[in-house]
């Protein structure tokens, strides 16, 4: 039973059934990063997936742009409690990048320019649930928000949607990434409020 804070509650934020528990709506787009924003030229950008036996697939920026591009309308939820509803992105589905690959490993580690990592089970990247996104609300993605390209996994807390993404390494086990070693939940489902350890 929660204690009552005397006199609290006169300035309530707008609510919505689309908000997971403990989240509030925001109209701006807060920036949360553990370090400086890397400066990445698309001419140097490269994305790779390293599979079980060390086999590697690589894409340049032009390779990525030549793949089928999808428009994604989605809500996003940050562990620091803000949510944005109805955001629009463009990107390439991870289903496209994993096409034709047979892997026995069930987990992935996402790697970013700048050294950030985050762990995601493979099944959370598949079946239309995750993208490499490079446009937000009709504009190229700002560097502060992960540009030129970030992972977009909107069904998990947004720290999983790694900014400045550069690759995926298949893992046999669900090893913790950067924030997952620094206090945040291994999986991060906003509807279950899986914020912290």
């Amino acid at each position: 039973m929660a204690v009552i804070s005397r006199g609290f509650g006169s300035r309530r934020r707008e609510s919505s059934p689309d908000l997971p528990p403990g989240q509030f709506l925001t109209e701006d787009f807060p920036v949360l990063s553990a370090g400086p924003t890397p400066d990445i030229d698309t001419a140097d950008w490269e994305f790779s997936i390293v599979f079980d036996g060390g086999e590697t697939r690589k894409w340049s920026w032009d390779d990525l742009m030549a793949l089928p591009i999808e428009t994604i309308n989605t809500d996003i939820h940050c562990v620091t409690r803000w949510s944005k509803l109805g955001t629009t992105w463009r990107g390439v589905s991870l289903d496209t990048l994993f096409e034709g690959i047979d892997t026995s490993y069930g987990y992935t580690m996402i790697h970013s320019y700048g050294g950030y990592t985050t762990n995601v089970p493979l099944e959370d990247l598949m079946d239309g649930k995750a993208w490499i996104a490079f446009e937000f609300d009709g504009e190229p993605l700002d560097p502060e928000h992960g540009g030129p390209a970030r992972l977009l996994i909107p069904h998990l807390y947004f720290w999983k949607s790694a900014k400045w993404v550069r690759g995926i390494v298949m893992h046999e086990n669900d090893d913790p990434g950067f924030w997952e070693q620094n206090g945040y939940h291994l999986y991060g489902d906003p509807w279950l409020e899986q914020r912290y350890w």
Binding site: A2, V3, I4, S5, R6, G7, F8, G9, R11, R12, R13, G22, F24, T26, D28, F29, P30, V31, L32, S33, A34, G35, P36, T37, P38, D39, T80, R81, G114, G115, D142, E144, H145, F178, W179, Q181, N182, G183, Y196, W197
Partner: protein, 245 residues
């Protein structure tokens, strides 16, 4: 990773024991939390308020206090259209109860066993976790070289202004940068930080400092980019941003 005091799964009741205006829009709150497990310098907590009809709101705040006592100190800046910060900066009184959960975060923290030197750069209320680090430095008797660069509108807008000045010592160098107006007797003119002033007033990259930067998003973006341009290893520049862009 050295284990931080572990976060307790449950919300803990905290009782406000004192409130004090620190700036025109910001207050320092002291909470008595009997079961507080202690916290490292730089960690934050979640604070939960419940209205009489059961409505709840939760926000995260940096912790200004350090160590294992049951007194937890927060410094809260009012966000004009906020719903929690106006309550904490205007309405809450000594004796009122709320709930906290934490401590949280294992990245933007400083421990006395960490190698030095350490450069702290704060903007506005972003100085709060940096004050915790300076307090820990003093409490632990550390001889790690510390340097603080605090950018703030005026001295009236500075959180912990008198305390920060009193913490200056042979091992803690303190530099204020006033962006709007300088106090009487201050050497230098008012103005925002620049790449040149950051270079002049911080530990050079050649000494491999760990740098903690905390403040509004635009401030942190600019400062962190200058630090990288000045040769700092991005992996040693730890940032905490608040607000949108």
């Amino acid at each position: 990773m050295t284990a931080a005091p572990s976060v307790t799964a449950d919300w803990m009741v905290g009782t406000v024991t004192s409130t004090a205006y620190a700036t025109p829009g910001g207050r320092v709150l002291a909470l008595e939390v009997p079961h507080w497990p202690g916290n490292l310098a730089g960690q934050h907590l979640d604070l939960r308020l419940t209205a009489e009809d059961g409505y709840q709101a939760v926000r995260s705040y940096s912790i200004a206090s350090v160590g294992f006592g049951s007194t937890v100190e927060l410094a809260v800046d009012q966000i004009p259209d906020g719903e929690v910060s106006p309550y904490l900066t205007m309405d809450v009184m000594a004796g009122d109860q709320l709930e906290v959960r934490g401590p949280l975060g294992g990245w933007f923290v400083w421990k006395p066993t960490d190698p030095g030197p350490v450069q702290l750069i704060g903007g506005g209320s972003g100085v709060v976790p940096l004050v915790a680090m300076m307090r820990e430095h003093v409490a632990s008797g550390s001889d790690v070289p510390f340097k603080l660069l605090y950018s703030v509108r005026t001295n009236d807008d500075a959180f912990f202004y008198d305390e920060i000045r009193s913490l200056a010592s042979p091992t803690i160098d303190v530099t204020f940068a006033f962006t709007r107006k300088t106090p009487y007797g201050f050497e230098g003119t008012a103005g925002r930080l620049t790449k040149e002033s950051v270079e002049r007033d911080t530990i050079p990259a050649s000494e491999n400092p760990t740098v903690f930067v905390c403040g509004p998003t635009g401030f942190v973006e600019a400062v962190a980019n200058w630090l990288v341009a000045l040769g700092h290893d991005p992996a040693r520049v730890k940032t905490e941003r608040f607000g949108g862009k």
